[in-house]
Symmetry: C2
Subunit: 342 residues, 2 copies
């Protein structure tokens, strides 16, 4: 036997046809128990593995998913959003369980996803993860929809386009966390994070935040909302600008944990102590949150569940089954930065 074993080699050794080998290995009910066992033994002995390319070419299905992760190409490109990274583990695991391979690509905003991944038969479907400017993003989504490419995405469900989205209830999560601060007696709130159509998730968090304030009879001061993308640097700058306005506040709601990191540094720089002078809360519960000092009160999104749902829903879509959007639960995680223990 030179080179890799093929199904013909197995057929020869087993004294059956190549078709039967193929059937046996795919657990076709058409093959007798006895024949199957013999074939499986020989396959094992020869270290045989089905050729992925031949199988995919013939059956026109790759049993591969592509994960596209993209963010605004800011500053340090090695700093991928930690929240997405924690989803990566559960996505790969669920792919394994479902029998799919996972192709990963970062920052591919500029290519034609459909033709690169679907037309070339590299992947049967796409998982999209990305913060970043939603405006650019939406036109790409529309292309995918127009081509009929199966895909799921992490993010807020939007009315403007028919997609399968997995996300958390950002509005509700933000209310949980704002209400917690209100209970602790905080009176004037700043919000750091983009609040515009370009960032639907942050926008939803801002809206939830405002709703909670209104319910509690607290005025929303739009002067205390500062735009920032999802980086510590932008958040730092935004917070400094905010502080320079000299409008007093005793709590900052950050649109994400990464933003909270920048806010915290800015506050420290200006000699403000968290939580004594200012309470601070984030969103996501990235691994770093519990190690910050003070540790960060935040809203946890179940990233393991998120990854699993993304894969499962995509596989259903690929199989042509009807698929609905799904929300994952949010959970308030109380740590030191909110001042709960003060």
């Amino acid at each position: 036997m030179k080179g890799k074993a093929t199904s013909f080699d197995i057929a020869y050794e087993a004294g059956v046809s190549q078709s039967t080998v193929s059937r046996a290995l795919r657990h076709s009910p058409l093959v007798s128990e006895e024949t199957r066992k013999k074939i499986q033994e020989i396959a094992k002995k020869l270290n045989y593995t089905v050729d992925k390319n031949a199988s995919s070419l013939r059956s026109q299905t790759s049993t591969t998913l592509a994960l596209l992760l993209f963010e605004d190409p800011t500053s340090d490109d090695s700093l991928v959003n930690p929240f997405f990274l924690s989803m990566l583990g559960s996505i790969t695991r669920e792919c394994g369980l479902m029998g799919y391979d996972l192709l990963v690509s970062f920052q591919e905003l500029n290519t034609d996803w459909h033709s690169v991944f679907k037309d070339s038969n590299k992947a049967d479907g796409l998982i999209l993860l990305g913060y970043g400017d939603y405006t650019d993003y939406e036109s790409k989504l529309r292309e995918l929809v127009d081509h009929g490419t199966p895909f799921v995405r992490w993010g807020a469900a939007t009315e403007s386009i028919e997609t399968t989205s997995i996300g958390c209830d950002n509005n509700h999560g933000s209310q949980q966390i704002t209400e917690h601060l209100i209970k602790l007696g905080r009176k004037s709130f700043a919000f750091v994070g983009n609040a515009g159509d370009g960032s639907p998730e942050f926008m939803a968090r801002y809206q939830g935040h405002c709703e909670s304030l209104k319910k509690a009879g607290i005025d929303v001061n739009t002067e205390l909302q500062a735009d920032a993308g999802n980086t510590a640097e932008e958040a730092y700058d935004a917070t400094i600008t905010l502080l320079d306005k000299n409008i007093p506040f005793d709590a900052v709601v950050a649109a994400s944990d990464v933003i909270a990191l920048g806010v915290l540094n800015a506050l420290k720089t200006r000699g403000l102590t968290v939580p004594d002078d200012v309470s601070l809360v984030g969103f996501d519960d990235i691994p770093m949150a519990s190690y910050m000092s003070p540790s960060l009160t935040t809203c946890r999104q179940d990233s393991a569940m998120a990854g699993q749902l993304l894969v499962d829903k995509l596989v259903e879509l690929i199989k042509g089954e009807p698929v609905s959007n799904a929300f994952i639960k949010t959970k308030l995680i109380v740590r030191e930065s909110c001042g709960a223990k003060a």
Copy 2:
């Protein structure tokens, strides 16, 4: 045109043979400039993409690399080593530049890597990232070598087996950092991290650490070395045990930043202040290091360079070129935890 366009569709429109289309699209010098241009235009018009499976099957090469990331399946499986995650960005980017796709799989220690990825023609080569017990790992490496599967790995070059490894000079990096502490006047050192054959990288760091101590005429007290795998939890427990020995020390060298995180929490729990009571240093410079409180003095490994080298070397191996091991540079990053500013 129903369904996807094929090279035959293009050939028909261009009035040439399918062979010529294939050559033109692969930039064969055999095709005239004029013909190539015409073909490229039509291909673009039809949104044509070469079918990956057909191309790979025919040419017996997948232009895909597989990244296998594995760690001891400890506690929370979503907490992948942050250092590897920061390499992931540069690996995907370099793959893109080199024209390779990237298949990602976690925790696949139990399967036969060779047949799953190479025999099945899913990938032309393997990139291996993993801390964890080296003993299990080594037998897997030997299988790959025996099969002639191209692969590169992150880690210390070892004499026991002939592999292409990319790593940093752990011994040297550890010396840089220990010498820094010595210069600051620290006298008695603890080391937290496995120092055994199962963890060659941590072992090298421990050895470098000890060499620096000896050079400075400081006795190495093996009672102050505490084993811990690469998790904050293990490090926390190890540190508590260490403190319970009641042997005084004024500096802790952690085998990694993640370990330093656990050490710091344990010290805080016991009422010790870093760096006033005890200096603390880590290794890796994970993103979290600069946000810890106090921020962590550590030894940076250039993860971007590491990812790039892993991909480049693997591609050379696949092409059958001779490939040597490579070291990436380490750099001492001084922050607050060592007490440099005290």
